[in-house]
């Protein structure tokens, strides 16, 4: 697999570190009532057999966190973007 880092260009798989589903959002409230939201955020995943938005870290390159849109059945990569708004840091 090769990931086209928006900063470094297309690079080999082993330069990157995988984190997981990028669509889960960290809750902002500490209200005990939000427990389910926290549990979903930390533990539960859709894991669809198709397009998957996921976090990768270009750990051997520019250290940007990326959102890669990838078909996890074919490994085809559809899009790669910085996870942080535009600039990595």
């Amino acid at each position: 697999m090769r990931i086209n880092c928006p900063y470094c260009g297309e690079r080999a798989l082993e330069e990157f570190t995988y984190r997981g589903d990028a669509t889960v959002a960290r809750p902002t409230s500490l209200d005990p009532a939000t427990e389910q939201a926290w549990v979903d955020y930390v533990y539960f995943r859709d894991n669809p057999a198709g397009l998957h938005e996921e976090h990768w870290h270009h750990s051997q390159g520019c250290h940007s966190w990326l959102v890669v849109t990838r078909n996890i059945t074919t490994h085809e990569i559809i899009a790669v973007e910085f996870a942080g708004k535009g600039e990595g840091s």
Binding site: Y7, C8, R11, E14, Q60, H63, F82, E87, G88, S89
Partner: protein
């Protein structure tokens, strides 16, 4: 009190003796030399200061900060992009820690600067087979169409993180590696260069 002062030593001390190694027939395919005493510092743009920083760097160092992983060569220092809003500044004239000091003074409030001059070993790898040696570890296409003069890259060779840029239009490359990994890198480099025959030049 010069006797109290600390002597700087290269991580290659005792490892890389100048001389000719590997295959001995013919011209050496690879020439390896250490670039010692360079000023090295990382420069990271403060939030919202991109424009101001570029302007300041232009004015102070006479270069346009590259927006991607390229080298911008200025009279006093070169700036090498290694990540969004991040550059490695390299200088011969502003040697060692002086570069970081200079940058901190000039870029105050615009960028976060960290001295790295003590923590890297920088090697220049040249000679007709330089690319072939690098190909044995570097997963990056160094063909001039893919990696023209002025290109830079951060990657890994033999499980060792490297920062690499093309030094000049001859096929020679400068590689910065973490100081603590110098010996391991050297083992890979010399094993890979042996079949071409290599020469270790005295440090510059």
């Amino acid at each position: 009190m010069s006797d109290r002062t600390l002597r700087s030593i290269s991580a290659l001390a005792g490892i890389a003796a100048p001389g000719r190694y590997g295959k001995t027939e013919g011209e050496p395919g690879v020439i390896i030399s250490e670039l010692a005493g360079l000023g090295l510092a990382t420069v990271a743009c403060r939030k919202g200061q991109a424009a101001a920083l570029s302007a300041k760097v232009k004015q102070a160092y006479g270069v346009d900060l590259p927006a991607s992983s390229h080298v911008a060569q200025g009279p006093k220092a070169k700036f090498i992009g290694y990540g969004p809003g991040q550059w490695l500044a390299v200088s011969e004239s502003l040697a060692n820690e002086t570069l970081a000091g200079d940058l901190m003074a000039k870029l105050e409030g615009l960028a976060s600067v960290s001295d790295q001059s003590g923590g890297r070993t920088v090697l220049r790898i040249s000679g007709p087979r330089a690319r072939d040696v690098l190909a044995k570890g570097l997963p990056i296409d160094l063909d001039s169409r893919a990696f023209p003069l002025g290109s830079a890259a951060t990657s890994a060779i033999s499980h060792i993180g490297v920062q690499l840029w093309q030094a000049d239009d001859t096929r020679s490359y400068d590689i910065a590696i973490f100081r603590s990994l110098t010996e391991s890198f050297w083992r890979w480099l010399t094993a890979s260069a042996a079949e071409f025959g290599y020469e270790v030049a005295p440090a510059e």
